[in-house]
C-alpha cells in the first residue's frame, strides 16, 4: 500500500489532450516516486473555474463543487480531497468553506444535489498538491530522494495568484511565499529569491477575453525572469503555465522582444531530479523546450 492516499480531483485541463495534460502526466510520475497514491474521484465534473460566474451565479456554481465533494465522500470516505489545479482547488475549497459557514447555503446545495441522487456532509479537508508535498512529505524527504541534482539550473518560482490567494499555503506570506524556492533548493537547483513577479497575476481567463491587457502583464512576468538570470520559470498552476508559455510568440511580435523562456511545473522538476526520463516528466509537452532539464534527464 502506498504511504499516502488521497481522493484526487484532476480537473478538466489535466485530461488527455487538454492544455495541461503535461501537468497530469508529471504529477503521476512524481507521485509514483514519492509513493503517493491518487484515487481519482469517479465521474468528477468541472468546477466552472473562476470564469463561470457570468453563466452561473453563486448557488449553481457552488453546487458543481458540492457534487465533487459528495462523490469523493462516497468513493473515498477517509481520504482528503487533493487538487493539482489552482482553480479547482480554490473553487472546491471556497465552496466547502461557504457551506460550512452558512447552514442555509449548505441545505440549498444539498437540495440541488438530491436531484442527482447525491448528498454531501462536507467534512473533508480540501487540499492542494503543494500542501501535500510540504506538509505530508516535507522538504527533507523530498531532498533525500534526489538522484540527479538540479545543480546549476536557475529557476524563477512563479507562484501566481490562486495557489497563493486567498487561501495560500499555511505559514506562507501572500506577498512573498517561499515554498517554491524551498522546493527548488531541496532538489539542488538555484532558486531566485529576488524574483519580484512571483505573485503577479497572469490575467487568468482574461487572457482569452482581454488578450492585450493580459499579455502586457505576462510580459512583465517573463521579463523579470530574464532580468534575474533565470533559465526557466517553475509554477504550480496550469493556467499560469499555459498563459506564460504559449503567448510568448504573440508577445514577441507585439513588443519586439525575443522571449524564449521555458515554463515548467514543480512536478516536472521533481520527476527529473528523481531520475525519471524526459517523457515520464512530460517534457515533450513543453512548447518552449526546457533544454537544461531535458539534458539532465538524458544523462
Amino acid at each position: 500500500m502506498a504511504k499516502h492516499e488521497y481522493s484526487y480531483y484532476p480537473g478538466c485541463s489535466s485530461q488527455n489532450g487538454a492544455s495541461s495534460s503535461n501537468l497530469k502526466r508529471s504529477i503521476d510520475t512524481m507521485c509514483e516516486v514519492l509513493d503517493v497514491k491518487l484515487n481519482e474521484i469517479p465521474d468528477w465534473n468541472c468546477c466552472s473555474a473562476s470564469i463561470g460566474y457570468g453563466g452561473g451565479s453563486v448557488l449553481p456554481r457552488m453546487t458543481l463543487s458540492a457534487r465533487n465533494i459528495a462523490l469523493s465522500e462516497q468513493a473515498h470516505p477517509d481520504q482528503d480531497i487533493v487538487a493539482t489545479c489552482a482553480a479547482c482547488w480554490l473553487a472546491t475549497k471556497e465552496a466547502s468553506e461557504r457551506f460550512a459557514h452558512d447552514e442555509n447555503f449548505f441545505k440549498e446545495a444539498n437540495t440541488a444535489l438530491a436531484e442527482a441522487n447525491l448528498k454531501m456532509t462536507n467534512k473533508k479537508p480540501i487540499r492542494h498538491m503543494a500542501e501535500v508535498l510540504i506538509e505530508d512529505i516535507g522538504y527533507e524527504q523530498l531532498q533525500s530522494g534526489v538522484k540527479k541534482s538540479l545543480e546549476g539550473i536557475k529557476i524563477a518560482g512563479y507562484v501566481g495568484c490562486q495557489t497563493n490567494r486567498p487561501f495560500g499555503i499555511d505559514g506562507e506570506s501572500f506577498e512573498n511565499p517561499m515554498y517554491l524556492d524551498k522546493m527548488v533548493d531541496a532538489l539542488g537547483g538555484e532558486s531566485i529569491k529576488t524574483y519580484e513577479k512571483k505573485v503577479q497575476c497572469c490575467g487568468g481567463a482574461l487572457a482569452f477575453s482581454e488578450p492585450d491587457k493580459s499579455q502586457e502583464m505576462i510580459k512583465g512576468i517573463i521579463e523579470a525572469a530574464y532580468d534575474n538570470g533565470a533559465d526557466m520559470i517553475v509554477t504550480p498552476c496550469p493556467l499560469c503555465q499555459a498563459n506564460v508559455e504559449i503567448y510568448q510568440d504573440d508577445i514577441n511580435a507585439k513588443f519586439n522582444t525575443k522571449f524564449n523562456m521555458p515554463v515548467v511545473y514543480y512536478s516536472q522538476l521533481i520527476s527529473v531530479a528523481y531520475g525519471k526520463n524526459a517523457s515520464d516528466a512530460a517534457l515533450d509537452g513543453q512548447i518552449i523546450k526546457a533544454k537544461k532539464l531535458e539534458d539532465l534527464a538524458a544523462k
Binding site: N45, G52, V58, L59, P60, A112
Partner: protein, 207 residues
C-alpha cells in the same frame, strides 16, 4: 428594460445599497468599505477599469445604479484575490465583483459585446453540455462568436499557437467529436436547474 429590472428599480427607489445588500453575492459587505483605495491600487487590471473596486463601492452608496450595473468594470476582474487579502476591512471584493456581474446579467444590463461576459457564458454553456470543459470547442466558439468570417480570421491568426498545442499533445482534434465528459450528465443538469430555481425564487421574493 427587463421586467425584473423594472421591478427592482421600483422597489429600491431610495437605496441602491439596499438592493445590492439584498441581491448581490456578499453585497452586505459593501457598506463596510472605508474608501482607503488599497483594492484599486492592488488590482492588476486597475489601470483598465472605468471604475475600480473602491470607486464601485462609493458609487453603490451614492445610488449610481445604472452607472454601476451597466458598466463593464466588474467584468475586468481576473479573480486574482489580491484585493481580498489586502483589504484592511476584509471585504470579499472578488466575490462582490462576480456578484455584481451576475446580478447585472440577471437584470439584462450587461453592455452588449462585453468580451469577458461573452467568454464567461460560452465557458458555462460548454461545461454544462457534458459536465466538463471541452477546450477545443471552447477555443473555436470563442473564435467564431462574431460570425464565420471573423472566426476564420481569428483561427488563422492563432494557427501557430494551435499547431504548437497539437504537437505538444495539449490540444486534441478528437475533442471535436465528442470528447471528455461525465457519465451522469442528466443528473448534473437537473441539479444545476434546481439550484437555479432556488436562486430565482429568492430573487423573485425580493422584488
Amino acid at each position: 428594460m427587463s421586467d425584473m429590472n423594472t421591478a427592482m428599480v421600483e422597489k429600491y427607489r431610495n437605496s441602491f445599497l439596499k438592493e445590492v445588500e439584498a441581491n448581490v453575492e456578499e453585497g452586505e459587505w459593501v457598506k463596510m468599505c472605508m474608501q482607503c483605495g488599497v483594492c484599486s491600487g492592488s488590482c492588476p487590471l486597475g489601470p483598465h477599469w472605468a471604475h475600480p473596486p473602491q470607486e464601485i463601492f462609493m458609487m453603490i452608496r451614492a445610488g449610481k445604479r445604472e452607472e454601476v450595473l451597466a458598466s463593464d468594470s466588474m467584468w475586468m476582474c481576473t479573480s486574482c484575490y489580491n484585493c481580498i487579502v489586502r483589504c484592511p476591512r476584509e471585504l470579499p471584493i472578488t466575490h462582490i465583483m462576480h456578484g455584481l456581474a451576475t446580478y447585472a446579467k440577471k437584470l439584462g444590463l450587461v453592455p452588449k459585446g462585453q468580451a469577458t461576459a461573452e467568454f464567461s457564458q460560452i465557458f458555462w454553456n460548454n461545461m454544462m453540455k457534458k459536465g466538463r470543459v471541452n477546450e477545443l470547442k471552447l477555443g473555436l466558439s470563442l473564435y467564431f462568436k462574431d460570425g464565420f468570417g471573423q472566426g476564420i480570421k481569428n483561427a488563422m491568426a492563432n494557427q501557430k499557437l494551435g499547431m504548437n498545442m497539437m504537437k505538444a499533445k495539449r490540444m486534441s482534434a478528437a475533442e471535436f467529436f465528442g470528447g471528455h465528459g461525465i457519465k451522469d450528465v442528466s443528473g448534473l443538469q437537473k441539479m444545476i436547474k434546481k439550484a437555479e430555481e432556488i436562486e430565482a425564487a429568492k430573487l423573485e421574493a425580493n422584488k
